[in-house]
Every structure is written in C-alpha cells, then in structure tokens.
Amino acid sequence: MIISIASGKGGTGKTTVATNLAAALNGRAELLDCDVEEPNAHLFLHPVIAREETVAIPVPLVDESRCTLCKKCAAICRFNALAVVGRQVLIFPELCHGCGGCLLVCPEDAITETGREVGAVRLGRSGAVGFIDGRLRVGEAMSPPLIKRVRAAADPERITLIDAPPGTSCPVIAAMHGADFVVLVTEPTPFGLHDLKLAVEAVRLLGIPAGLVVNRADLGDDAVFRYAESEGLPLLLAIPFDRHIAEAYSRGQLIVDALPDWRQRFVELYQQIDTIVCRNTTTCANSSSSAAKAAPARPA
C-alpha cells in the first residue's frame, strides 16, 4: 500500500501527518520524504542513517577529437543544453534533462555520458520505522529525478508513506503517481481551500482516491468542510489548533509522543484509508489485520 500525503498549499501539516502516521504504525510503515527541496521528516523521526547514495542524472560529454562540429546534437536538444560556438561544443549541464538524444544523433560517436549530481538519497530507520529521504543539492533546479530515486528505494513489503512537496506541478506528481491513496492536508482558510481545490484536480487527473485531513481545524471558516462535503471528499481527521501541538512541533517532537492520546487517532486514520482502498480494489496488499478481515480475500 502506497499512501501519499500532499496538500497544494505549503505549511498545512503534511510532514506532521506523515511522521505521526509512520510512528503510530511503527514497524509496518516506511516513510519516504519526497519533499526533496526542503526535507523535514528527519527532524521529527530522528532516524539513524545507515547509507547515503549520491544521485546523478546523465549529462553529455563531448570527445572533441572526434567531434566534426556538425551541430546535430545541438539541433536535437529541446532544452538548449548544447550549443556549437566557433570550434567548440558548449554543454550546459544544468539545462540537461538526461534524455540521451544527443548520444543517439551524433554520427561520430563523439558523445558519452557523465553524471551531474542532483542530490542524495539517505536510507535508515527510526526505531522500527523505515526511513528514506532525498535532499536536493542547493542550486539544483530539477527535483523529479531525485524523487523517483527515493521512491525506487522503497520496501514493497511495507506500507509506504510519502511526504510530498507542496504545489501541483511536476515534483508533486512524481510524489503521487502510482499511489493507492492520497491524504490531502489543508487548513480551513481561503488560501487552504483554494490550493486544496487545485490538489483535488491533480489527484483526479491521476485517478487516485483521496481523503482530507484538516489541520488547525478551528482557525478560519467552514468553507473547506462545505467543499469537502459537496465533493464527496471524506474527512478523515480534524486536528484542532492547540498551542501544545504547535510548541511540540516547533521543538521537533511528534504529536503521538507529546500527547499520547493521538497515537490511536493516527492508527484509526490508517484504518479508514485501508478500508477505502480495499473497497476500491480487490487486492489488499499489506492491509492491517483488523481491516483485512473485513476486506475481500487476497488472490493466491
């Protein structure tokens, strides 16, 4: 089961929901921090990192002794990452998307590939909770290749919880694509509602079932709740504004540790998701024991 936690608007509580859900599910879950521009989950889960791998994307390297300056490489590149100026091929690695078109088109086989570092993937664990995050190199613009690598490292035997970046463009899509369920976290304000609508459009475009968590549920107005009801978006959890929660968060503490009553509420959040996903599909991979009883049997 892959659950992506997304929001549209930033700062609504994605990381709070993802990390507390991971802690509540304990060893059954693995958390993937796919907000690679600003990864924060490690600040709450305090993982022990076992391994760190640099992630590079392929960029061209021209062997000038073989190059005849035919300009075919520059012509095929849609990203303007190569240019022929005078007697030289200039390469702009930061513009390269790594499609390999220049290698294919070069009649002299003068182009090989080298790597451009986009960031690093870290793997570890926080107690029994599996932990993986990606960290984009500062100055690097392209996050989707790194997000894809974080996701490729996931353990398929566990419940995968993806902490997605804010927004609705390509990095968010990379963090939601192929998920079984998307938890949309919002706050009940005009900004929260506006960006929630965009996130709902994105989720529908991908055809993934979704539910709502409303954070700071008592600050703002009721428009988000009315919208959720009219759209048939199930309200899975409402977290009130509580100075204790806000202060615990500010110190890097999980809600389930600061206010232990919340552990059960996050377990119930998962059970609701599991029930919705099982209702929609015939296969219930990694479903919880309690929800599995109510769900159709897994095919052999």
């Binding site: 924060n40 390999g100 613009a141 392209m142 927004g167 390509c170 994105a202 107005d221």
Partner: protein, 305 residues
Amino acid sequence: MRELVIVSGKGGTGKTSLTAAFASLAKNSVLCDADVDAADLHLLMAPQVVQRADFMGGSKALINPDLCTGCGTCRTLCRFDAISERFAVDPIRCEGCGVCVDFCPAAAIDFPVQRCGEWFVSATRFGPMVHARLGIAEENSGKLVSLVRRQARQLAEEQGYDILITDGPPGIGCPVIAAIGGATALAVVVEPTVSGRHDLERVLDLAAHFRVPAMVCVNKYDLNLDMTEAIEAMATRRNAALLGRVPFDPVFTRAMVAGTTLFEFGETTPAHRCVRDIWDTLAASPAMNALGIVDLKAVPHLNKA
C-alpha cells in the same frame, strides 16, 4: 526600480499575508505573484484582469496510431518510461525531449506545443499586479515564473514604478531559482520551528549561491522564543540582516477570511506595529538601497517618526 522577493523555504510561514500587507504600505509599487503552482495573492487583491495571455510551455509526444507500425523504437529509446506497450504516450511521464519524434522510422509521432497555463496583468487597489496560473500537473513552472517576473519588471520600468514586490514560491528548486535570480533583495519569512530553521539554512545557501542579499523576519516568533533566538543568531552569522519579529496572531487568518490585507481589516493588534516596522526596516535597508541613498518616499512611516 528595485525588486523585493518574499520567499520562505518552508511553505505556509506567512509569505502571502506579509506580501499583501507590504503592498498596502508601499507607495508606487507593482505586485507580482511568482508562486504560480499555488497562487493565492489574488484572493486578497481582488485583481481586475486587464490583459491575459496563454503560457505555451514545452511540447509533448503524440503517436498517430494510423501511422504507427509498432516497431518499438520509441519504447526502447524513451528514458522516461512514457510509452505504453500499446504505443500510447503518458503525458504525465513524457519529458518533452522529442527523441521518439526524431527517431520514429515511420514519422508517426507528432510533437504539439502545450498550453501549460495562463498569465495576467491586472489592476488592484494597490497598483498593477502580474500573476499566473500554471495548469495542473504541468512542467515548466520555472519558465512561467521567469515570464511573470519579466512582465512585471517591464511594466514597472515603463510606467515609472519604484518597487516591484514579488510573492515567491516555497522550496529551493526550479521555481524558486527562477524567482530570485537578479532580484534586488529577498525577505525570508521563517517560523520558529525545527523545520523553519532547517529550511531557512537551505534558502540562505541558495541566496548566497545566486548572490542575492537576504533579510530574515520571524513570524509567530512567540511559539518558541528559544528557537526564534537561535534562528536570528544563525541568520546573523550568515550575514542576513534581521527585519524583526511578528507574534502569532489569529488576526492574520481573520483578515484572510475577510479577503483583505492586515491593515484594511478593521482591527488593530500588536502585530500591525510589527509588520509596519518590518516594512520600514526593509525599505530603508542597505540591501534595497545599494547606493546608500534611502528613498524617503518609500519609507513614509520613518518620515513621520
């Protein structure tokens, strides 16, 4: 003409609420919403659109099934797994590199340019505003950010505005890089949390990387005073000037619900004074006045004092 860009690293720290408040204090300014993914500034500005244009981004491959021979060349060459076994292109996975288009032996693949969004020039009660809406799940957000900033800058220069106030996106990736390059200065809005501190460090690194001076203000500072002090000390070590502190105050949410800026909302709290002081500090800062000459027109409150 100078450009101030409001960024944060971490999302939801109050960028847009503060941008709107600054807009109501600034004299002779142009507004730009560079958070094209999840643009919210228009919710407070009620812009009257005077000009709109399509944003044409990159192209995406489209296989013509009548011409396709099913040879599989495109599937072999595509590095983004965007072509299905039945030779249909997944527009979400397609990177727009055009390799399949160029190498298809049957010339069966089209490469139409995509309309990725829309951008607008509008009139607001605080002056002109340039903003945009990126299509859902679209790429090229950086290109659209560059486009709206270029348009806003051009408008400000042509019509003699003194300052461009740009509401930036969260993060440190492609749209943020496009939002800060060549700006006069950045105002970084941070909250006093472990995430806020962590994300501030990365955004200050990014500012240094692109050589844009950054200044820092702590929003909701009273949620964790120790963290506020730690953040201010860190910012100072990194040569980021301190702009001030804003207390946690639900008046920001109430003003937002009413669709107004902080100063138009009929209620005065200690936060008002803090935001006004921050704006004065910003407008009078060395970073915004590179020649050392403070534009007194831009700092009316300093004048009164």
